[in-house]
């Protein structure tokens, strides 16, 4: 499975939007350390390590920028699949069957497919998903000093890459609350001190604050609110928008609706033009969420000792709420990608429990669970297949963006122009079939 999508990733060019500017900014810094220091006082964000990483890869690439950034994306994807498999702790045939199902949930969920589609110089959201999974893996392990040290490093790195890195603290605390003892209480205390230090740096030392609502557009019920719309509708009373974003983010992970805050499926339903891919997305998510709910309730009532699989329900619940709260400013699939990955783990735990323990009660209960499994597994397999379509579509779009959307300021100064031209050439030289040639059924069954 990894190889199948790895091939797609090799065909995807580095994107222009949210990428070229970052690469050029990092290039202009005097060094990696300079790139780290430059954004420390940026309003709304504290992401110094993001810039430093981009600069580091830029320097190490020796002029092969596109190749280097794409190789990092591929590496992050491979490590994430490995970490996901690691934390499932597959030991029995039932575990293996559930793991196969869970992998399709991970790859098919829109929050994860975004992480493959978005070919930033370094996909920092994917990085945080990886760090969070590794933190969980360490929490599941036997207690060791090494685990504490590693998790402190992961948190420090993650928090300084992007705000979602704070979720590593949440993962560790949630794991401990659920009964995983791989990180000691002393380690968690130190981690909490680091969190405090981060907040102190962000709000007192560098005065970054939080992102303003005027910075990005966001989905709101049936439309996209541009920055001006947000100010006009909410002014300084932003809490209704924030509450909407939090609720939309949670629902998006559980039901694949809304998407980036927008009620896409509901709009299609009201229009009477529901696409097959929408039905597949809603049905697979609904069935899986029901399975997770049923299995979690069953596990909580069970008298037998809970294992790490059952503990994943608790961890997922806490991570989901925390991740949704963190996306208060605007709703976007990438931001809840950590919750998405933990949703796939909860799905693993649910199916594993069903396969291992079975279903108590009537024949009807067994038939219902069987039906949910069929709908969910078929739906996720289809969604995973659709990821190929989505990546090919994105590759076509990104390649064309290099012709039309490059900011002229990155073509003026010779140094900037050389980098832009190299990236543009690398993108344009990779031929991608135009969507006009795709079979029509793909458009209806797969998401863009």
């Amino acid at each position: 499975m990894f190889l199948a999508f790895a091939y797609d990733l090799t065909r995807l060019p580095v994107q222009v939007h949210d990428s070229l500017g970052d690469i050029q900014d990092a290039r202009l810094a005097p060094s990696v350390w300079g790139a780290f220091l430059a954004p420390l006082h940026q309003e709304g964000y504290l992401r110094p390590l993001k810039a430093a990483q981009i600069r580091l890869v830029f320097d190490l690439s020796r002029g092969h920028y596109a190749f280097a950034y794409r190789a990092v994306h591929l590496l992050l994807f491979g490590l994430t699949v490995w970490a996901f498999t690691w934390v499932m702790r597959v030991r029995t045939w039932a575990d293996a069957a559930a793991a196969g199902f869970a992998l399709t949930v991970l790859l098919g969920l829109h929050t994860f497919s975004n992480l493959l589609r978005e070919a930033y110089p370094i996909n920092h959201f994917l990085e945080i998903v990886l760090f969070s999974l590794v933190a969980l893996g360490l929490a599941q392990s036997a207690p060791r000093l090494r685990n504490d040290v590693l998790v402190l490093v992961l948190f420090t790195a993650g928090a300084l890459v992007i705000e979602s890195g704070l979720l590593i603290w949440v993962v560790v605390v949630a794991a401990r609350l659920s009964g995983m003892k791989g990180i000691s209480l002393r380690g968690i205390a130190l981690l909490t001190l680091l969190l405090g230090a981060y907040l102190g740096l962000r709000f007192l030392v560098f005065s970054n604050g939080i992102p303003l609502i005027t910075e990005r557009s966001t989905g709101y019920f049936f439309r996209v609110l541009e920055q001006d719309d947000q100010v006009r509708l909410f002014g300084s009373r932003t809490w209704p928008l924030y509450a909407y974003n939090i609720a939309a983010s949670m629902l998006s992970v559980l039901f694949s609706e809304p998407r980036a805050g927008q009620l896409v499926a509901t709009a299609q339903l009201l229009d009477g033009r529901v696409q097959p891919w929408t039905i597949v997305a809603l049905a697979s998510s609904l069935a899986t969420t029901l399975l997770v709910l049923v299995a979690a309730v069953h596990a909580s009532r069970s008298r037998s000792a809970r294992d790490d699989g059952d503990r994943l329900f608790v961890v997922f619940g806490i991570v989901l709420v925390a991740n949704a709260v963190l996306s208060f400013a605007y709703a976007k699939g990438d931001i809840v990608s950590v919750a998405g990955a933990f949703y796939a783990l909860a799905a693993y735990a649910a199916v594993r429990r069903i396969l291992a323990v079975g279903v108590t009660g009537s024949l009807v209960s067994a038939a219902v669970v069987f039906g949910l499994l069929v709908v969910a597994s078929t739906g996720w397999a289809l969604r995973t297949t659709g990821l190929h379509y989505s990546l090919r579509y994105q590759a076509f779009k990104v390649r064309n963006d290099w012709v039309s959307d490059v900011d002229p300021k990155w073509l003026e100064e010779p140094g900037a122009r050389a980098v832009s031209e190299q990236l543009r050439r690398a993108a344009v030289e990779k031929r991608v079939l135009a969507p006009r040639f795709y079979p029509r059924w793909e458009e209806r069954w797969f998401e863009e």
Binding site: F101, V369, L373, S377, T384, V428, R431, L433, R436
Partner: protein, 155 residues
């Protein structure tokens, strides 16, 4: 729960994923011997690239020396054509009403005679697409609005 139900649950949970893995494996094997079926190496000419809004391919072909003023065969269906037609990239761009492609082609060296421009301007005018008409006007180097019969066609 009976053994039969357990087996049914395992099959229900994992069968689609197993089928998926088999398909992916087959695709990779196929890719290694006969080219990747999901990423076919489709060769387009300049007019077909314009007809499919593949601006990057247009740029690649022009950078590679293809003549943006040349006539190229366009397979049926790409520009509402029932049979293969030989048209210029500019005609393809006008046929699918993409002003940005017309702009790109003029920028990349398309030159028109007065008669050619007049015919294309009339075709663009029939579309009632203001953006497209404005884009075609840029290639007319100050010529006046032509007198159109309304019967001008691209091919």
């Amino acid at each position: 729960m009976s053994r039969a139900w357990r087996v049914a649950f395992v099959v229900a949970a994992v069968a689609p994923a197993v089928v998926l893995v088999c398909v992916e494996f087959g695709v990779l094997v196929w890719a290694s011997v006969a080219g990747h079926p999901r990423w076919p190496d489709e060769h387009l000419n300049l007019s077909e690239a314009a007809a499919t809004r593949d601006t990057a391919e247009m740029v690649r072909l022009i950078d590679g020396g293809d003549d943006p003023n040349g006539h190229y065969p366009v397979r049926p269906g790409l520009v509402d054509n029932n049979a293969e037609v030989h048209i210029t990239p500019l005609e393809a761009a006008i046929a699918i009403r993409r002003a940005e492609l017309v702009d790109l082609l003029f920028k990349d060296g398309v030159r028109l005679t007065a008669d050619e421009w007049a015919r294309l301007r009339c075709v663009a005018a029939m579309s009632d697409d203001e953006e497209l008409i404005a884009a075609v006007d840029k290639g007319g180097s100050g010529q006046r609005d032509p007198s159109c019969t309304g019967r001008e066609t691209l091919w």
